[in-house]
Symmetry: C2
Subunit: 353 residues, 2 copies
């Protein structure tokens, strides 16, 4: 297990902090950020009434046990203070004190995009998640999600099928794969990417951990894409935390009759960017696609050549230049208008657009 | 046929103007708006080279023939100058000189919403068009469309099934129903709404007439809803003319994998309002729905009652007020957060939102 350059004492105390109830985490993070050593933060925290006190030696022993257990099970612990800890995640108000990981740590150093959505996704939602993730992965983007049923696992699978790597952030210890049918997927993910959690190994998948886990998914990512989120979906909490963290929020539209996309559409209403394909996401990241989709082939059109950009011309003038009768010219001009290459100007004139 | 208070002479000359090529219309409209009598505008137009000249007496004879034919066929002619001419349509830069109509003229006096989209719509597009139109019609909104295959006819049918009236604007004379399989639909529309055209009766459905017809569809309407428009759809021309006319443009999202919604999604990207149901349209028109969808029932929640709006409280305080152990309180708070009724504030506190 890699722990340098953080001392083992510091690591132990950071783990002990993560064993405190989550509503103490933000306050502890503030103290650490202010430069207080983990041991001081831990002692101070235990003195505060609202964080249920526990004997500090008991906590440290539990932390040490977690480290030993991780060593045996091939799990790494990456503390906040480590230079390899992802800077984007370190920058959120309540970063995990320690990231427990299994897999290829190099995947933390690449640009990442989160993709989350319904656990009970439709075939459409699954197909979109898989395609977007595959296309992003093929372009070197790491796809982050939560290993849940539905959209999450489709995103992980898509990234793997695109030949890229993907990160699964769990709401349990990294050695407690939930749902259990995703164990094989988790192993596939570890081959080139990471399975990670801020919870000590062995932690069971309890309900309150999942909303907390969502802030890590968005915190690791430059942008977050929502696919099929109902009106009261947990994905909307992830979207809100992404916004709080200053991440771009994007959403995939869909069927308005099924009710499955009410959450995604609500985000679009509130200014989320619309995603139809991976290029839309790359563009938002400032990584424009090399190839463009469609319609640059109409140049060389003889009618278009008779129009000077910026100069409206009337039908007679264009007809004369093109050597075509006005009546035969019109259907061509309408076609060009439909293609967005020509627009109508005032007084029955046309302009190249 | 109702022609008063416009004199028959004026009507004849306005019809003669509409017999001129469309690229002369805007200029003629400007002159009429400046107060020039139709006869003067017509004479001046015929003197301009780019409007193919025709003998004025021949034009007037054709116009008179159109009036006689309309009288025989139960078609009304509503000139621009008539007080019943819809003010919204009169306000566009190039309003039709004469509206030839069949059906119930009263439908022109009610708030109208246009609904247009793909002629080759998917079952989803047709279902959305029909449902939205039905719901709008049930709320007293007149649904305007183009009687085309696909979304247009679904919108007309939906409005009729909702017990309301609908207006079909044709790209041919009102007595030339295209496509022919919509003849029965046109008759149903006339019973409570209108079939209308700016083209003299008998005009065949030629390609250039359809983009022109689109400006009338949007011109009659306070808002326009796009359903399933591909990337180069004619519906986008209607949307552009609607924007030029200062109308609200709204779009229905859908499947991003089929390519059928690229146009609608492009409009959403450009700021069109997203439509999931009729309430979204009514809201845009400033006609909010009386009933609200969902989730106003959570008031009276005992946990929520322990939170004073605007005052963050920590877990212990809420637990004390509610008489519940903090550990048992958390899952409830997460549920309330998911419902958007509670938000997390700094320092592990919660706030009623």
């Amino acid at each position: 297990m890699r722990t340098a350059p953080t001392s083992l004492t510091n690591l132990t105390d950071l783990i002990a902090l993560s064993l405190q109830p989550f509503w103490c985490w933000r306050q502890a993070a503030e103290s650490l950020r202010a430069g207080d050593p983990p041991s001081v933060v831990l002692e101070r925290l235990l003195a505060i009434r609202k964080c249920p006190s526990a004997d500090i030696s008991v906590l440290r022993a539990r932390a040490s046990d977690a480290i030993s257990r991780a060593l045996e099970d091939g799990i790494s612990a990456l503390p906040w203070s480590d230079p390899l800890y992802p800077p984007a995640l370190a920058a959120i108000v309540d970063p995990p004190f320690v990231l427990w990981t299994r897999g290829a740590a190099a995947s933390l150093e690449r640009p990442a995009v989160a993709m989350v959505g319904s656990r009970a996704a439709s075939p459409y939602g699954l197909a979109v998640a898989e395609r977007l993730a595959s296309d992003l992965a093929a372009r070197g983007i790491v796809v982050v999600s939560g290993l849940a049923r539905g959209v999450d696992s489709a995103a992980h699978r898509g990234a793997l099928s695109g030949g890229g790597s993907t990160i699964a952030v769990l709401g349990s210890g990294v050695d407690v794969i939930y749902p259990p049918e995703h164990r094989a997927l988790a192993r596939d993910i570890e081959a080139t990417g990471l399975v990670m959690s801020e919870l000590v190994p062995g932690t069971p998948p309890l309900k309150p951990f999942f909303p907390l886990r969502n802030r890590v998914i968005s915190g690791l990512s430059r942008a977050i894409v929502i696919i099929e989120a109902g009106e009261k979906s947990g994905s909307l909490i992830t979207a809100r935390s992404a916004l709080d963290q200053g991440r771009d929020v994007l959403a995939v539209p869909g069927n308005v009759l099924s009710g499955r996309n009410r959450g995604a559409h609500a985000l679009l209403r509130d200014g989320a960017k619309i995603v139809e394909d991976a290029d839309d996401i790359l563009e938002e990241l400032g990584m424009p696609a090399p190839a463009v989709h469609g319609s640059a082939s109409a140049s060389g059109d003889p009618i278009l050549e008779c129009l000077t950009p910026g100069e409206p011309a009337d039908l007679d003038a264009i007809a004369e230049r093109a050597g075509v009768a006005p009546a035969r010219l019109l259907p061509r001009l309408f076609e060009l208008e439909l293609k967005g290459l020509v627009a109508r100007a005032g007084g029955g004139r046309f302009i190249r657009s």
